[in-house]
Symmetry: C2
Subunit: 149 residues, 2 copies
């Protein structure tokens, strides 16, 4: 289904909450309470987002998490790759044997191009866009067909 994991979905909810509270440091417990997601799960997601430098953390009493940058500078691609690793549709699991039989597998190169297109689409949408009420279609429209001529 080409779908995102639940954790990624949760991450967008968490980050949307934090975008509205961006002046404040939020504790994991507070975020869990606000979003209705279980504390250990929230915790796990927050740690992943810190590793990906989407969030900053401060330890100790009065510690917590904060957006590492403005919502405008946090792309959906960054959020997804924080939770799921690099964005890539294929790992070219086509066996070498097959590729050799076909004497040069052109499919691989074309998949890469498709990946890149999708990545661009996700890169051009930010957390600010997700929080914003009205989307702006022309910003994320990508005419992939033009890449093939």
């Amino acid at each position: 289904m080409l779908r995102l994991s639940k954790l990624t979905d949760y991450a967008t909810v968490i980050l949307s909450f934090m975008a509205k509270e961006k002046r404040r440091v939020c504790a994991a417990m507070e975020i869990a309470a606000a979003t209705g997601i279980a504390v250990p799960t929230v915790s796990k997601i927050l740690k992943l987002l810190v590793n990906a430098k989407v969030l900053m953390s401060t330890r100790g009493a009065k510690g917590g998490y904060m957006l590492a940058r403005e919502p405008e500078a946090i792309s959906v691609a960054a959020i997804i790759s924080a939770l799921e690793g690099p964005i890539a549709l294929t790992e070219c699991s086509i066996s070498k044997q097959t590729c050799e039989q076909a004497s040069g597998c052109g499919i691989r190169a074309n998949w890469h191009l498709i990946n890149q297109t999708i990545h661009n689409a996700l890169e051009s949408v930010t957390l600010a866009d997700l929080v914003r009420p009205a989307p702006m279609p022309e910003e994320i429209h990508i005419p992939i067909a033009s890449l093939y001529q």
Copy 2:
């Protein structure tokens, strides 16, 4: 990782093979031999592609599978949805409670737009594009590492 399933990957290999043999009816066993994918697996994939009307089948001796239309008219989106169901990143697993708390979840509408964009990208690439030799090197060079620092 936003990735396609192995079966979808296999499907592109199978369909690429068939695109080159489009004049001929191919039996499942023949395709398995040509691609190196196990017969039962090939069989399963072919059935799914028939259900999605990407392939046509004829039963009985001398039967087999054929592309239902020209490779130019078979989109990557059609192939993916045949194997994995509708293309959709999210199923909006954001709890209603959260949405209500936030008094109107704008995220949903924005995800829908992103889905649509990706769908358009996949719709505009066809089996013929996949089979076609790779585009110029500079077109397919992807500095992906730079996106992850």
